[in-house]
Each structure stands twice: as C-alpha cells, then as structure tokens.
Symmetry: C2
Subunit: 387 residues, 2 copies
C-alpha cells in the first residue's frame, strides 16, 4: 500500500448560488484544485464525486460522468459515492484508497450539492430520507428532531446547557468571518442563539446548519510523486469509516456516536497517533450538539465535557485545540456532498500555511470527522504537514 | 496489489416482488452469498451497495448502512456507489479494489433496486434522470428514445434489421427458461418482437428490458485466502471502468460506445487476454440494440456484424460464444442496482459449474459488461475458473 499525498485544493463560494448546476460548481472547484496542484487534464486517472441527491435537487442522477465531461477529461472513470452528509468524506477516502492501492496515480476527489433550488420544507423532507424511512421518517422524525433528542439526552446525562450548545455556533460564526468562501459573515451572540426561534426543542434556528450550494475538490497522488507537481503536499496518515444502525431506537445511548468512536480510534491506531497529537480539527457540526458529541467521541475531551470546554474557549481558534476554524457546517455552510471534501480542503490548507487570515500557527497534524444521517456513517481522516 | 477471488454468490428472484424493501432484498441475497462462501458475519470487513435511487423508489437515501444493520454486521463500513445502471458493476469493482489494495480481507458486494412501487411512467421518468438533464431530458429524451436513435443509426450504417434485434430478445427469453430467478419464463418469437407495440421507433416493447425488483450479492476475498472458506473460488483476472459524455450529441458516432471499447480493451490488456480467450459473456442488454453494440464494441465481432451473428445463433447457449445465458436484463429482469452484480453472479456460477440446467460446458474464462445511462459509464470484469 502506497503512502498518499494531497497536493491541491479548490472550493466554490458556499451559499445560495442561484442558477447554476452542481456539475458547473464541481467543474469550478476541480479546476481550482488542478491549478493549485499543477496537474494537467491528461494527468487525471479517475474522479470521485460525493453527492447526496442530484435526482431530488436537480433532476439529475448519474452525475459522476458529467464531471470529466465538463472538465474535458475524456473517458476518465468517474464514480459517485453516497452516504448522506458523509458522501464527501467517502469521495476523499475512495480517492485515497484508489491511489494507495496502486490502481490510479492521480485522482480528483470532488463533492457537491445544489440545494437552494427547492423550498426549505422540501429540503428538510429530502434530507429526512437519510434517516430510517421505515421506523423513523414515516413516523415524522426529521434530522432536527433526531438531533434534538440527542441534545436533550446530553442535557439530561451531562448537564449540557443551551448556552454551551450556543457557544459552538458563536465560535463557528466568528471563525467564518475570516473565510471568504463561507456562507455567513455575521458574528452572533449566545443570547441570539438561545433566543432564536425554536426548530426542534431544545434546538433553535442558530443551533442548525443552513441550506447551501457549493462544491469542493482535492487532488490525490502517491506520496512519492508529490514533487512532480507544484502544489505543496500534505501526507495522508490514515482514514477510517464505520457504520451504525439506521434507527436511533436500536442504539444503547443517544449521547454520542459509536461510529465516531470507532472511526476515530481506527484512524488513530492506523496513524499510530493519539488525540493529544492532533493540532487542528474539522468536525461535522450539522447541529451544535453534533460538534459537542464529536469532540468527545473522538477522544479530545471526556464524555460530557464537550459543551463546557467549548463555552470556555478551549476549541476556539486560539484555544488548546482549534475546532472548525473554517466556520464549520454551521457558518461556512453545508452543501451536503461537498462538506466532507471541504473539511479536507481546510485541514490541507492549514497544514500548508495557506489558510490566509484564519491560519492557525504551528499546526502539523490535522483531523476531520464527517457524519452521515444520524451518525449511521462516519468517515475520519488524519493528515500531516508535508515537505 | 493482491489477486482477488469471488467465493460466494446470492440473488433473489427477479420480478415484481410486492411489499418488500430493497434492504430486505439485499439482506436475503447477502445471506445466500455468505452461506455459499462459508463466511460468518464476523468475517465481513466492508460492504458495498450498488443502487440507483432509493430516494425516488423507496423514500430512502443513505441505504448503505442499512445493509450491515439488517445483517447484524455491527459497525461495518458500508458504501453506496451509483452510476445509473452500472451501479452494481461499480459495487463489485470497488469491493475488488478494496481487497486487492489490502484495505479489507472480506468484502460483500451487493446491488439492489425496488422499482415496482411506482407506476411505469414514473419509473421511465426516474430512469431518464440518468441521461443529461440539461441537454437531453429537458427536451423530452428518455432512454427508449436514446437507444432508438442508436438502433436507427446502426440500421442505417450496417443494415441491422428489426429481425436481428429481435433475435437478441428471442435468445435471452429462451435462456431465461432455465433460470429459476428470471422475471420471465416465456419463450417468444421474432414475429412477436417485431409486431409488438412500438415504444420508440424502431424499438418495440420486446426490444426493451422490463421494470424489476431484485438484489444480488457476491463475497470477495484475497485469492490466497480462498481455501479458508467453503465456496469454490473464481479468480478476478481484471476490471476496468470508463466514462463518456453525458449527451449523445457530443459523440462522433452513435453506433457503439467508446466506453465499452475502452473498458473492454483495458480489461483485456490487464488480464493479458484477447476476445478469443473468453468462453462466456454477460452484457448489458437494456435494449436489444445494446447487446448487439456490446458484442461488437468488446471485440467479439466486427462492427456491424453483431445483429447478423445473433440471428445466426453464434451467441446462443450452444453457439460459439454464449452471451447472456442468464437471460440477460431482457428476460432475467433489470433491477437497476442489482444488474451489474447479477452478471458477476452468473459468470461466477458458470465458472464453478453451478449454473444448473443452463450450465455451459467447458467454460474457463468469462466476462461482464455493465452499462450506465447512454453508455456514459461502462464497467467490465474478466473472471477465471479457480482451483
């Protein structure tokens, strides 16, 4: 198995991008990543696309071949992977596997979603299909409801307060101020979050990530080939994926995700690293409670302490372990299929000292956690500064 | 890169299966494949699922984690791949890559679709989304129309007659008589095909594959581990994938698929084999013209001769090179995500002398060709009898 490098990144602005297709968005992000890496069209051996549902959002299935088509990569194999909001993470992971396994030498990992074509209620309905249709969705559960149950359980078990959850949103909105691609450039306060309209008790509007259009892309090559190209390289130390039951009622606890715990543990073991070795993290904050559970489940903090440490600033950009410096899904935006790729874009750029005004100093090892559904899929990556 | 074996196969009956979910269908096919292989639940390291659209057909996205959930494979990574009707082929291919690359030791490749929940017109509309929505579907093109254009082009260029196309359907219906899992057990005649109602001129009803529910599964392990398990092994000699433009108008010719030509050529090169070395083939006969183009594009016959050789019986079960002995998509049925996996099931069983009444004698090397959209994705596999 070969070591693997990421040598180029690209992403579109995240937000309501109007009359544009996801195919065009991916093309834009991919060209930026290819230019950054210094790879030519003829270099690319394969493409992966993380996308939740072109059919529902754009009346377009079979979206993967559209990427090499628009990029002019004649006949290049192109595969869509889907695992709800973890689709992007799986696109990156399969690109890494394809290079590590020796099947291809240059792979373009992409992710995209064009969500704002539909009214909000239709988007919520579409996203709900990522939960268990048989036992949950048919009974009225949508994701705000599912994560509200987790927030309530966390509150009851560990005393996590609305203010602690709100601190996640406040931090991520603050971080997004320095991310020109972020959907929101607006600082908020704990009071604003706590007093915003209730979406699913106890989660308010500002506890929830928004509906977003956008795409992201990275270029993956063998580590030994990294100096053939222009982009500074970041080394892939490990990746890991885990799944869990579709329904929440099949799980013994609701205060965390066994999938995050397993995927993070496997990623650490494969990289021969521990949580204390990680300098910067992007986690899946689809709801504020999700970030709190993630930083606990990944082992950065003891179970139940995630809310408190966030309120105390431990995960701020200048804190002990910066979490979601990009603005996270909450403020950078959450174009489903793109989010897992965009996490890798952020960590890669941080490890290459290319994160501009939000650059965190002295970061050498970074990690991502991308979540699908009610945590039924988790993908983690650990990346290291290259040479 | 490790050599890879297929050691177990399973599939459900194909047809209108009533009130059942694709998750249940995959579970059934997977258990059959696991029993055949002699692998236990604890052995399985990862699952792949080929599925076109759980969202449209079953109001269920994020279907992949549902498979290990129902199978009791706790926390096993599970990934959905989608490339229209080639989704199943990509499920098998990624399972092979995952084992060959050394990432996992036992992988379950599955595919499924539950299509009969919707009225026929809705299914045609859903499937049309696999063509280019921007330049084709929005102007009224559906797949019968797209393949009708190809049939007409082939007719004009090479004199391929309705009777030659009909011979594909007649042969495949005859083959399906000996496949207990096939959707149709009804022999038809050339006259019946030619005189059936017109769907898209010149393609009639019997030129088209049906709407089908079903699932299929195979178990993939390292070649060196094959004797640890019970199932007789088949060796994976090669695989290849290619993509092409989404729209037909971007292609120089309509009488064949460059993707099939490239994927087949790459598969032959990687296996160090030639078309003459292949003893048995399963190709993607979504429409009769597709089988004719496939056997030409793969190099078994010269361009333009596919129709004539079919009419002459060269591709019959007792012909020079048996094509679609399973009954093909035409008569076995075409549950989209399952079809590419079912092709591998058939070739594997033929190479293990386990094809029952339709067993072709003395077959050592077999090949599959799985097509997505208007040929925008093609996946080929070459398999060899094991020891």
């Amino acid at each position: 198995m070969r070591d693997v490098a990421i040598i180029g990144t690209g992403m579109t602005k995240f937000g309501n991008l109007g009359r544009v297709t996801s195919r065009e968005l991916v093309t834009s992000a991919a060209l930026e990543a290819m230019n950054d890496a210094g790879v030519e069209r003829g270099d690319i051996d394969a493409v992966y696309l993380g996308e939740l549902s072109g059919d529902i959002f754009e009346h377009q299935m079979h979206a993967a071949p559209g990427i090499p088509d628009y990029l002019g990569l004649e006949n290049t194999p192109s595969t869509r992977v889907e695992a709800a909001c973890a689709s992007g993470g799986l696109s990156v992971m399969h690109s890494i596997m394809a290079v590590a396994g020796g099947f291809y030498d240059v792979v373009l990992a992409t992710g995209a979603e064009k969500m704002t074509n539909l009214p909000t209620a239709h988007v919520t309905e579409a996203l709900s299909m990522c939960a268990d249709d048989i036992y949950e969705v048919s009974l009225g559960v949508t994701f705000p409801g599912a994560f509200a149950m987790m927030a309530r359980a966390h509150e009851m078990e560990y005393g996590t307060t609305p203010e602690m959850r709100a601190a996640v949103a406040v931090k991520n909105h603050k971080n997004a101020m320095d991310n020109p691609n972020a959907q929101f450039h607006k600082e908020i306060t704990i009071e604003k979050v706590v007093n915003s309209i209730m979406v699913a008790d106890p989660l308010t509007l500002y506890d929830c990530s928004p509906i977003t259009d956008g795409a992201a892309a990275v270029v993956v090559v063998p580590w030994e080939d990294r100096h053939k190209y222009e982009g500074p390289a970041v080394k892939v130390r490990s990746f890991a994926q885990a799944s869990d039951t579709m329904s929440l009622h099949d799980r013994p606890v609701l205060t965390g995700f066994k999938t995050t715990q397993i995927a993070a543990r496997n990623a650490f073991e494969r990289a021969q690293l521990q949580p204390k070795d990680i300098d910067i993290v992007e986690v899946h904050d689809c709801f504020t409670i999700a970030e709190i559970m993630a930083i606990e489940d990944m082992g950065f903090f003891k179970k139940g302490e995630g809310g408190k440490v966030t309120l105390d600033g431990v995960t701020a950009r200048d804190g002990q372990i910066p979490v979601n410096v990009s603005g996270g899904l909450k403020a950078k935006g959450h174009p489903i299929g793109a989010s897992g790729v965009a996490q890798v874009v952020e960590i890669t750029n941080q490890l290459r000292d290319r994160a501009g005004p939000r650059q965190v100093p002295d970061v050498n090892i970074g990690m991502t956690q991308n979540l699908g559904g009610s945590g039924s899929t988790i993908v983690c990556h650990i990346l290291e500064r290259g040479d």
